[in-house]
Symmetry: C2
Subunit: 197 residues, 2 copies
Amino acid sequence: MSPLLEELIQALRCLPGVGAKSAQRMAFHLLDRDRTAARRLAEKLIEASERIGRCTRCRTFTEAPVCALCASSSRDPQQLCVVETSADLYALEQATGYRGLYFVLHGRLSPLDGRGPREIGLDHLAQRLAEGEVRELIVATNPTVEGEATAHYLSEIARAADVGVTRIAHGVPVGGELEYIDRNTLAHAFNGRTRVG
Amino acid sequence: MSPLLEELIQALRCLPGVGAKSAQRMAFHLLDRDRTAARRLAEKLIEASERIGRCTRCRTFTEAPVCALCASSSRDPQQLCVVETSADLYALEQATGYRGLYFVLHGRLSPLDGRGPREIGLDHLAQRLAEGEVRELIVATNPTVEGEATAHYLSEIARAADVGVTRIAHGVPVGGELEYIDRNTLAHAFNGRTRVG
């Protein structure tokens, strides 16, 4: 295979979920049918790498100093939802009717990997809560061990600032069948049952 | 979502097999963890789009006038294997011990899509056979309707140039179980049975 083609295939493998075979398929597809799209993708990759930074308020990805969500006057500044990633933020925006604001950690507490409170912006979050506007901190970290530890830490920060804390519900997924749900989730759903009548 | 981020996600969708969800995941991954890789990918996309052309002998992708295979003195110029795509060429190179040369059509005959003999380089192939060096034309087009039509056309070109024609075998895949093989393949394998004793 030509050296340049090998290099392109190797470079494509930086994309998550793309192995040797898919990368080869992508390279041939672009060269064969769509060099214009390949060039446009290259331009966007460079432009995004250089210009997209983090919102100074919520830390989500944006090319502006403050993102559109934080700049919006129609969102309720008394509610602040904490998520691990920008992808989680967009998932919540698409699925829920939430009208408050967000705070993006870009990770979770993981001391062994050198990610402490400062690395995930918790000092920044504490300052934000100290401003006194936020009334409810909605914790939406993932239900993993590290996500739970982060959630615990977030609760403490909120209590120190006298801000109410809520947590999104964990339980049986809608459309899931009890029989096929893993034991942890089922135990969590059972213990977290709510009164309906 | 920020406009530039939307544009990057949209641009990533030019890759085959990448839908809205994967494109979003790729964009976040690159921005979050690997902007250096994103820039390297961008460079390779531009370099490959601009510099990779087709080998003047076999038409495979290469940045040189003649590809490494065609330029090699250790390959047998009497055997010429015709494949539909460069991907097929590499698949054969990786799987077989074939030591002859290749000819890449970059497609197959498909008059309805405006792909006639000239578009897939058959005039070029006829010239090549007229040079008199090739003794065996190995047809390795795909066993689809259009691939079969192309194979038929290739046989005629070879016969006109008095070159022997062979076809790669089609039948039950190695490791496949008869019970689960589609009817066409099974009929083909049965009719194409070979004598073993």
